[in-house]
Amino acid sequence: MAELPEETTNTVFNLQGRLLKIIHQAKATEFAIAQQYGETEATSIDLEQLQNIRERADTYYSRFYRLLGQIAEIQPTATPAMLDLLDRSIAEAQATLDALTASTQEIKRDWNI
């Protein structure tokens, strides 16, 4: 199997764990806001953003799953250009995840949830 550096694999697993948390947090917050505040102009906007956040996290999760599977199969090895692209994508995903997590927490805080 094309071996990814263990560190990269662990980083991706870690990302996937965080993605699941974001999916859960976004959904739980969406549910709580809808229940406690009903439908207003302000709630509609934040509910939509929570859905956007959850959707991205979900898509990221499935892409990383497929990526690891394909890389494991590659013979004899993935090209350095490919690995470089992968590293950059992982770094970008981490930054995006931080931003999505922060936004979810901000929404939670604002609605006292």
């Binding site: 302000a42 709630t43 898509t59 892409r63 993935a78 692209l85 995903a93 995006t96 936004s103």
Partner: protein
Amino acid sequence: MMTDKPQPPSIEKVKERSARVQEICKRADANILILDEIIAQLEEENRRSPLYQSRLRRAKRLLNFPEEKPENVESDRDSATTTS
């Protein structure tokens, strides 16, 4: 005045946040598109591998599916393709 329920955030604040989240989502979408491209390239590479190609040839023979003749490889069986 209601005092038992916490104040919801102002509409201005919510709108400002919405714009910010949408920017993040735009970056996420661009990033996901690149991931799709990487996955497609890896899939293509895996499909081109000799191991995969010979399995595919065997599968086609087993099911009598028409086979494209790969260059440099002689077909060692009767072709199942029909003559028109």
